[in-house]
């Protein structure tokens, strides 16, 4: 009896060993890395915002659809316009069990001096998965029924249009500056704390225009309290068919929020390849497609090299604007 038990144990162990070897030698030969401890998914912001919804969705899919064999706990490291979380992830140099959730502020932090020593160039890029578009909004009672009305009213009267948004140096202010530059209009930009305050000020008529991710304001369009004036995207959105893009209006400005994944510096190419595969698989799931549709986003995969290229050009583009805004010293 006893010896047969031992035999079974030996057989089981042998089987485990064989399967472990089989797993390690991936037939595709691409990913020879498999995480053997939980992957910490770091969010450089507080719960509740766009970054956290992205990370909770992606991390949840990785766990639920068993795309990774381990748990993916989400860890919030907010503060310092993402600089605090970036510093935390950077400390994990060479450890392939950490991922970060990137968005515009991640590149901007390295430009504005929020993060003095670390920039996007100091991390391993995994992928970009999607883009969150930006829509220009006015309240329903506003005299500006279209974007053309607004520009026509603003022309020749500098600072007559009040544009509310997040802090100067953030995405809202950059979009305002880009549009201002393209149309020759000078907006009166007013900084608020967070989207909630901006929307309240817009509904109260204290500001004339603001920008937002479509998902934040869709219920306001349905409730006829706000109207969408224009979209800063390349193409119209299926959920907002009537809203023209800025390009259609002859204003050559596109601007959106990217949603991507990065990792600490110095992790092995095998680990990078592994996580890129996982990211691709995440994008193929129904849950991810639902997230994209629900939030009126655009899904688009960029691998590590493409991602780095995108970040660099984003940094160039916004760097000029930030210098003009006086946020970055020339």
């Amino acid at each position: 009896m006893k010896s047969s038990m031992r035999n079974i144990r030996i057989i089981v162990l042998a089987l485990l060993a064989v399967s472990a070897v089989a797993l390690a030698a991936d037939p595709a030969g691409a990913a020879s890395f498999t995480p053997n401890r939980p992957i910490e998914f770091v969010i450089f912001a507080s719960p509740g915002g766009g970054s956290s919804i992205f990370a909770e969705t992606v991390g949840g899919i990785m766990e639920k659809e068993k795309l990774v064999p381990v748990a993916v706990p989400r860890v919030y490291k907010p503060g310092g316009s993402q600089a605090v979380g970036m510093a935390y992830l950077h400390e994990k140099k060479g450890t392939p069990f950490y991922l970060g959730s990137t968005s515009n502020s991640y590149v901007l932090a390295g430009l504005t001096g929020a993060s003095k020593t670390i920039s996007h160039k100091d991390f391993t890029d995994i992928a970009i998965l999607a883009f969150d578009e930006m829509v220009l909004i006015a309240r329903q009672e506003s005299p500006y029924k279209s974007f053309k009305d607004l520009i026509a009213a603003a022309k020749g009267k500098p600072k007559s249009i009040k544009w509310g948004g997040s802090n100067v140096g953030g995405s809202d202010s950059i979009l305002a500056a880009m549009i201002g530059k393209a149309t020759g209009v000078q907006f009166n930009y007013i900084a608020f704390q967070g989207g909630g305050e901006v929307n309240a000020a817009l509904l109260g008529g204290h500001i004339d225009i603001a920008s937002a991710n479509p998902t934040e304001v869709m219920p306001q369009f349905e409730g006829k309290t706000m109207r969408a004036l224009a979209l800063a995207a390349d193409e119209r959105l299926s959920g907002l068919k009537d809203v023209p893009t800025l390009k259609e209006l002859g204003i050559n400005v596109t601007f959106s929020t990217f949603r991507g994944i990065n990792a600490p510096p110095g992790i092995s190419p095998e680990a990078v390849a592994y996580y890129q595969q996982v990211a691709k698989k995440v994008m193929e799931t129904a849950a991810f497609k639902k997230y994209i549709a629900d939030n009126f986003m655009t899904a688009k995969f960029m691998d590590g090299a493409q991602t780095r290229k995108f970040y660099d050009s984003f940094a160039d583009r916004t760097g000029d604007i930030l210098r003009e805004l006086g946020v970055v010293k020339k």
Binding site: G48, P78, G80, A114, N188, A191, F192, G194
Partner: protein, 500 residues
């Protein structure tokens, strides 16, 4: 009548066993979160949010509302018993609540707080049902100039809060304003007084200041004293509020309820400001303002009612417009978006079972909290029987854990100890800590509102007297400043004529 029908439907949603369970879980978790120093309702909801994934949005929201209300009750416990504000809106409760505890009246303080909270919480849900829609229109008419005037009024009342020397109060207020200027300047994008610490880019979290100054600062001070003196144990007499306590408290509870609700509705104001406007109001209305800060029960009843009432108020813009009225409701909004539900102006029409279910559960939650808190008072006051030599280190441990948990930041823990030493020194030099904490809260709001207003008006100061609400609030602020001066002049004239 229609509202009543809707409410009935809401109750049918709320009393399902699952939702009752979430409501109970939320209120218990909220009470603990509120009692833990540092972690307030917004941090608490963030931390517990992942637990609700996979749950339907209504149950999740019921749990979050339970946490929100529970935290307001829970914050009182530590404020009264050990002088550590569990969350920001119970800072005011420490002033008189802790004094009451020292006099052996901790039970009365906790009792009146629980009952006041219950009345205020329930009335604010009634108000949420009845006047939500018209009220939110008024709230939206509050723009940056109106907020500036409101916050300025708040700042002018600070000096009166501390009792004792007005000069000392002003000194401490300015120190607080200095602390509050640290962080990223939203209008230029430049870091300001951050000394190259990335952690300071978001400014100094006032919870860290509050827990340091009140909690550990007090521990250090007491530790020094008890080393010399013999052991002091408070005797616990009359656990329940007396008839006299009731007589003194019912008006503060009523006023606190309305102040809390109105301030709660205003996006960006919230429970902290509600609680201390209520305290300032009670002190002004009182025939014996000198009792405040020495264990006046009105100083507990008013602010505690106000902070609970603000929860109902803060739900108004969230449910009617999809706009968060406070940090806590902002996180709730984000959570609801994660669940695929997008609150907006049509929420009442599109998801009535959700809205009314949540409203009904807030009634139930308040009843649960009342029973829980009243029932536990005899248990809570036993904390005071723990010898100081054990209690003091425990307070330091809980404060440290609580502050760390807010942002998972060791930097905040370091900052906590710095402010603990500041708090100890202030106590030694008899400087009041409350004005410092409140000016750290109000400072950035006043500054932001002022600069927003002036950006709106392109630098013209006309904006402050051409808008009626702004003008009214500013006149009230001046009245607050000038009132003692007028009294002083009259008194001088009287003594002057008597002398001649």
């Amino acid at each position: 009548m229609e509202a009543l029908q809707q409410l009935m439907m809401g109750f049918s949603v709320a009393v399902t066993p699952v939702n009752l369970l979430y409501c109970l879980l939320g209120t218990i978790a909220g009470t603990i979160i509120g009692a833990l120093p540092g972690i307030g309702p917004s941090a608490g909801i963030s931390i517990l949010l992942p637990l609700t994934f996979g749950v339907n949005p209504t149950s999740a929201m019921i749990m979050m509302a339970g946490i929100y209300c529970g935290a307001m009750y829970g914050g009182t416990i530590t404020s009264v018993l050990i002088n550590v504000p569990g969350e920001a809106s119970s800072v005011m409760t420490t002033l008189d609540g802790y004094q009451m505890a020292l006099q052996g009246r901790a039970g009365a303080a906790l009792g009146i707080a629980a009952i006041g909270s219950f009345i205020a919480g329930t009335v604010s849900v009634v108000l949420l049902m009845l006047v939500a829609v018209p009220l939110v229109k008024v709230a939206l008419s509050f723009g940056p100039p109106e907020y500036f005037a409101l916050m300025l009024m708040g700042l002018t009342t600070i000096s009166g809060l501390a009792g004792g020397s007005a000069l000392k109060a002003f000194l401490v207020t300015f120190l607080g304003l200095l602390v509050s200027t640290s962080g990223m300047d939203a209008f230029s994008g430049h870091p300001r007084l951050t000394f190259d610490f990335t952690e300071l880019l978001d400014g100094v979290n006032f919870l860290v200041v509050a827990v340091g100054l009140f909690g550990i600062g007090e521990v250090l001070y007491t530790a020094e004293k008890t080393l010399k003196l013999e052991f002091v144990t408070t005797t616990i007499k009359n656990v329940w509020p007396t008839r006299e306590d009731w007589r003194l408290s019912w008006m503060p509870i009523t006023r606190g309820t309305f102040i809390g609700f109105i301030v709660g509705v205003l996006p960006g104001a919230g429970g902290t400001i509600a609680s201390f406007l209520s305290y300032a109001t009670e002190k002004k209305f009182s025939r014996h303002p000198e009792r405040f800060g020495k264990g006046a029960i009105e100083g507990v009843a008013g602010p505690e009612s106000a902070n609970n009432s603000s929860t109902g108020g803060a739900m108004v813009p969230l449910l009617t417009l999809g706009i968060p009225g406070s940090g806590t409701t902002a996180i709730m909004l984000g959570a609801l978006m994660m669940f695929g539900l997008q609150p907006g102006p049509l929420l009442f029409q599109k998801n009535p079972d959700f809205v009314w279910g949540v409203i009904a559960s807030m009634y139930i939650g308040n009843v649960m909290l009342l029973i829980m808190n009243i029932g536990c008072i005899p248990l809570f006051v036993k904390i005071l029987k723990i010898p100081n030599s054990l209690l003091m280190p425990l307070i330091i441990v809980f404060s440290t854990v609580g502050v760390y948990a807010v942002d998972n930041s060791l930097f905040d823990v370091g900052l906590l100890y710095v402010f603990s030493i500041v708090g100890y020194l202030m106590r030694k030099f008899d400087l009041p800590p409350a004005p410092l904490v409140l000016s750290v809260v109000l400072g950035p709001m006043v500054e932001r509102a002022l600069r927003q207003s002036l950006t709106m008006s392109l630098g013209s100061y006309d904006i402050f007297y051409t808008r009626p609400i702004t003008l009214g609030l500013l006149l009230m602020a001046f009245a607050v400043i000038l009132w003692p001066l007028i009294g002083w002049i009259r008194q001088r004239r009287r003594t002057g004529t008597a002398g001649s």
